[in-house]
């Protein structure tokens, strides 16, 4: 059984169908890059997996937890998949440590000392242990995004969804975030990332999904997809003619 099973998922906003039947199975430890033009549905797909968007048809399950639209099932699913956003979405009123501790304490009812120990460990992992007491607006974008990663990791998810996590960053800050992701991949974390970093996708990912007009247009190992694109759309997207 695959870790994440996406079966015939469709999603419409009114009459506009943005996902037109997506099938994708992700094995444990896989690192998948989802690429495609804006509007191709790649972010929507990611958001559907975490229940931030409700799907119109089809099914999604993560490690046996079925995506359903009620609080109990959503919670069970979200405990298994973490999500990192383009805009970081750190909680501005909490310190870095507070950000990483909050959901452990609120959702998992972890006692404060354990939550703090976990927070310190995760911040250490992303190289920010010295920023425990800083507020998010005192950090650079790259640091904020690393805190967001630590925050998601502190919930001990079995997979992470990364939605264009470097797109809002200044170019010189992209590398520090990607280095963290690269490490996670090396440790065997299952990752699903929407990204524009083609070099990163080529180096790190086990599979690349090219989405076009709401469908999985091409899928394969990075060396195949990048070196030998089959469809004119992918060729055009990659800048080959």
């Amino acid at each position: 059984m695959s870790l994440i099973e996406i079966t015939d998922v469709r999603k419409s906003y009114g009459t506009n169908e943005v996902l037109k039947g997506i099938n994708l199975d992700v094995e444990p430890g896989e690192v998948i890059a989802i690429i495609g033009k804006s509007g191709s549905g790649k972010s929507t797909l990611l958001r559907c997996i975490n229940g931030l968007e409700t799907i119109s048809q089809g099914s999604i399950s993560v490690a046996g937890a079925q995506l359903m639209n009620d609080e109990v099932h959503l919670k069970a699913l979200r405990l298994k998949v973490g999500m990192i956003f383009q805009q970081f979405n750190l909680f501005p009123h909490l310190t870095v440590g507070g950000n990483v501790m909050l959901s452990q304490m609120v959702v998992k009812k972890t006692p404060k000392p354990q939550a703090e120990a976990m927070a310190r460990k995760m911040l250490e992992r992303v190289g920010l242990s010295q920023k425990f007491d800083a507020y998010p607006d005192e950090l650079s974008g790259g640091q904020q995004q690393r805190v967001a990663i630590a925050r998601a990791l502190a919930m001990q998810p079995i997979a992470l969804l990364c939605d264009e996590i470097t797109s809002a960053l200044d170019p010189e800050l992209v590398a520090e975030v990607l280095a963290v992701v690269r490490e996670l991949a090396a440790e065997g974390m299952t990752l699903l990332m929407v990204t524009h970093e083609m070099k990163f996708a080529r180096d790190v990912c086990s599979r690349v999904v090219f989405m076009h007009q709401g469908r999985v247009h091409e899928i394969g190992r990075p060396e195949e997809v990048f070196a030998n694109p089959q469809t004119p759309e992918l060729k055009q997207f990659l800048g080959l003619h």
Binding site: N89, V106, V107, M155
Partner: protein, 223 residues
């Protein structure tokens, strides 16, 4: 104008004034804390509650915001006993202030909640928090921080508005002024003095609220 100002009565009547100040402060302390709490609950219902509850809260807010505080006070003090709810002057004054501030503050707080970036709700959800947990731990504090100045102004307005509770014989600062003027026939002086006291109270209350804001929102004080 051949009027001789006379403030000598102050020496005799200052205990009344002090007592009046104490009652006014007590009213705004209770009214402020309970009113803002009620406002938070109502704002939460209006932002995230079920449709029927939202309608009830909306009706309450509109009703209060579109009728004078004096009439709300009279209705509570004179009208409610016919429903079997007999309140003392101070209880009625307190209740009226809570109900009044609750309605105004819920609108102010709701504006703060609506200004919350969508990503904050999504981040809460993605961390497996329920909508209520996200509201309580993620949305509420920054929302309050955003509208704290407006909320503070409203509390000051309600404090000044509380002058009318003297009309149901709650013994606040205005009641003291009325009492003194009826004894000394120094109406103008009595009201000038109490007006000045209200002005000072308003300034102090504003500063206190700003300090309270600094305590509740440490990030703001740090800047």
């Amino acid at each position: 104008m051949n009027y001789q100002f006379e403030f000598g009565w102050l020496f005799e009547y200052y205990p009344q004034i002090l007592k009046g100040i104490a009652i006014t402060l007590e009213l705004i302390a209770i009214g402020g804390v309970a009113g803002i709490s009620l406002g938070i609950v109502c704002a939460w219902v209006r932002a995230l509650g079920p449709a029927w509850a939202r309608r009830i809260v909306a009706a309450y807010v509109e009703l209060i915001r579109n009728t004078p505080f004096l009439i709300q006070l009279f209705f509570i003090f004179f009208g409610l006993p016919s429903l079997g709810l007999q309140l003392s002057e101070l209880q009625a004054a307190n209740l009226a202030m809570v109900v009044n501030l609750g309605a105004y503050s819920s609108e102010i707080i709701r504006a703060g909640i609506q200004a919350t970036p969508r990503g904050q709700f999504e981040a809460g959800a993605s961390l497996a928090m329920s909508p209520f947990e996200t509201f309580r731990h993620v949305v509420l504090v920054p929302s309050l921080e955003r509208i704290w100045p407006a909320l503070s102004s409203q509390v000051v307005i309600v404090m000044l508005g509380s002058a009318v509770v003297s009309q149901i014989a709650a013994e606040d600062l205005t009641f003291a002024a009325n009492f003194i003027q009826s004894r000394t026939f120094r109406a103008f002086e009595a009201y000038i003095v109490s007006t000045a006291v209200y002005l000072v109270l308003a300034i102090l209350l504003r500063q206190t609220l700003s300090m309270v804001g600094g305590l509740i929102f440490p990030r703001r004080a740090a800047r």
